[in-house]
């Protein structure tokens, strides 16, 4: 019981600090500077001849992340298949 109270206090502290941090990043809807994203918006279309900037980031500028993402999905598939594999018949 004492442990539960302690954990509850900890959760409240973590949520409080978390909220305090996001509150101090920048006001909602008001990004001060965004050089990296502005570069994408300006140049993605002519550099990579693609209309969808998000796709150009996902598959080109950060394509390696997407490879990792596909690998995570493959990992999950392999794990699920390994967990539910058909086992050897028991003698």
């Amino acid at each position: 019981m004492k442990k539960r109270v302690l954990f509850m206090i900890a959760v409240l502290v973590v949520v409080g600090t978390f909220w305090g941090a996001i509150d101090r990043i920048h006001p909602f809807g008001d990004v001060p500077v965004a050089p990296m994203d502005d570069y994408y918006i300006e140049n993605a279309q002519q550099e990579r001849s693609v209309n969808n900037i998000v796709t150009s980031i996902v598959f080109d500028y950060r394509g390696f992340d997407t490879l990792g993402e596909a690998a995570v999905l493959f990992t999950a598939v392999c794990s699920v298949l390994a967990l539910f594999r058909k086992g050897r018949e028991r003698q």
Partner: protein, 112 residues
């Protein structure tokens, strides 16, 4: 090749140690070779002395189980071990709780 590892306070040289180790083992082997010459292999001198009891066939019946090792140490530290084993409760949400607790404590410490 013969350089030493300096730690700022002293040094470590593996070759000096190995030479020392070789000399010591030579000395020990020499001392051992001076041992009793009435020892004969394959006689009753080889028999195991088991408290003047019959030596059991299976090794399972002699020998100390591992959980009895260091029982004095464990007994002396019993309160410490009791609290430790209580912490390792095996419940997954407790483990998450300790993680969150650490985050909370460290966050408070850093922000102070």
């Amino acid at each position: 090749m013969w350089a030493k590892v300096y730690s700022g306070f002293g040094y470590w040289d593996v070759y000096v140690w190995l030479i020392f180790f070789g000399i010591t083992s030579a000395l020990v082997l020499w001392l051992r070779s001076l041992g009793r010459d009435d020892y004969k292999e394959g006689t009753e001198q080889d028999e195991i002395f088991y408290g003047s009891n019959e030596v059991p066939e299976d090794g399972d019946d002699m020998g100390v189980p591992a959980s009895s090792a260091y029982w004095g140490f464990v007994k002396a530290l019993k309160p410490y071990y009791d609290s430790l084993i209580e912490i390792h409760s095996g419940i997954a949400s407790d483990y998450v709780g300790y993680f969150v607790l650490t985050v909370a404590v460290l966050a408070v410490l850093v922000l102070l």
